[in-house]
């Protein structure tokens, strides 16, 4: 199989594992997310904390090897973004949306898989949102 094909297989497997995790933890249910945001059930912190801890062990170890990924040749690095006002304003806008809907991008797609077809409203909203962001970036560039 070609390298590009292997990367697609890895992404498919990775997506499946991620989707299983979101389903087990019920992040696919906006009601569960809203329960957390209304401080009735703190489970979401365990999901994010558990995920971040496992990811930290892998990523921090990988980044120290100085090696590169077999499928892409990409060097093992860290995900560090520049801290600017966009990070804060974007986070606030994201927070409003998350608080209104109890949905975020990964769980929205996984939720389709558990039969929650009305989540399409959120997916349509997110795609429109991505377009709006594109126009914002484009008008800044001009």
């Amino acid at each position: 199989m070609s390298r590009a094909g292997q990367i697609l297989v890895a992404a498919f497997v990775g997506g499946i594992i991620f989707g299983v995790g979101l389903t087990i933890s019920q992040m696919t249910h906006p009601e569960v997310v809203l329960d957390f945001l209304q401080l009735d059930d703190f489970g979401l912190l365990l999901v994010m904390g558990g995920g971040a801890t496992v990811a930290a062990i892998g990523i921090q170890m990988g980044a120290r090897t100085g090696k590169s990924a077999p499928l892409t040749g990409k060097k093992y690095g860290l995900r560090v973004r520049e801290l600017d006002s966009d990070v804060i304003i974007g986070g606030a806008i994201f927070g409003i949306g998350w608080g209104v809907a109890g949905v975020c991008p990964g769980p929205a797609f996984a939720s389709l898989g558990i039969g929650n077809y009305v989540i399409v409203w959120s997916i349509v909203g997110m795609i429109i949102g991505a377009h709006i962001h594109g126009f914002i970036k484009e008008s800044r560039a001009n």
């Binding site: 990775g14 933890s25 019920q26 496992v54 986070g91």
Partner: protein, 164 residues
């Protein structure tokens, strides 16, 4: 006595138990680690929104190399999310489930999430799991802001009587 108090606290804070949250979180982390060691990519679900738009939008922002080169595997990853959730539901014998949250909340929330996640350079997975795992200060700031704002908004929504 102290142990009983701690047990009480756990029951109050986690009325639906803790194991499925922890196991789910660990599985999500395992997916991140798998993608990292095979491809070197530190994934974030919201980037796929923009890379998918790059398939059809002529806008220069969407036609950047980073989007075009990663859009295929990101789309496949997103399909994997759906397949994984459907597969687990099938195997575990759970019934199909539909949210009662009203459509306009899902739509308006989704729109703001789309703008905010991209402007803020990440979402709950990109910043909340992968950014924190990278010890990135920008991610910590982003997570604190979106958690704080979302908790306030969710309470306001409830106060305004919007249920569910």
């Amino acid at each position: 006595m102290v142990l009983i108090q701690i047990a009480d606290l756990v029951v109050t804070a986690f009325p639906n138990g803790i194991s499925h949250y922890l196991i789910g979180g660990i599985v999500i982390g395992a997916s991140v680690v798998f993608m990292y060691f095979t491809t070197g990519q530190i994934i974030g679900a919201s980037t796929a929104l923009e890379t998918t738009v790059s398939y059809y939008s002529k806008l220069k922002w969407f036609q950047q190399e980073e989007f075009i080169s990663s859009r295929d595997w990101r789309a496949v990853f997103t399909v994997g999310l759906i397949v994984g959730a459907a597969g687990y539901t099938l195997v575990s014998g759970a019934e199909l489930w539909v949210t009662e949250v009203q459509w306009w909340r899902l739509l308006i929330g989704g729109l703001l999430i789309g703008v905010g996640a991209r402007l803020g350079k990440g979402c709950t997975s990109g910043h909340g799991i992968c950014g924190l795992a990278s010890f990135s200060p920008a991610s910590l700031v982003n997570v604190v802001v979106f958690l704080g704002v979302a908790i306030i908004v969710a309470h306001l929504t409830e106060l305004l009587g919007v249920v569910p």
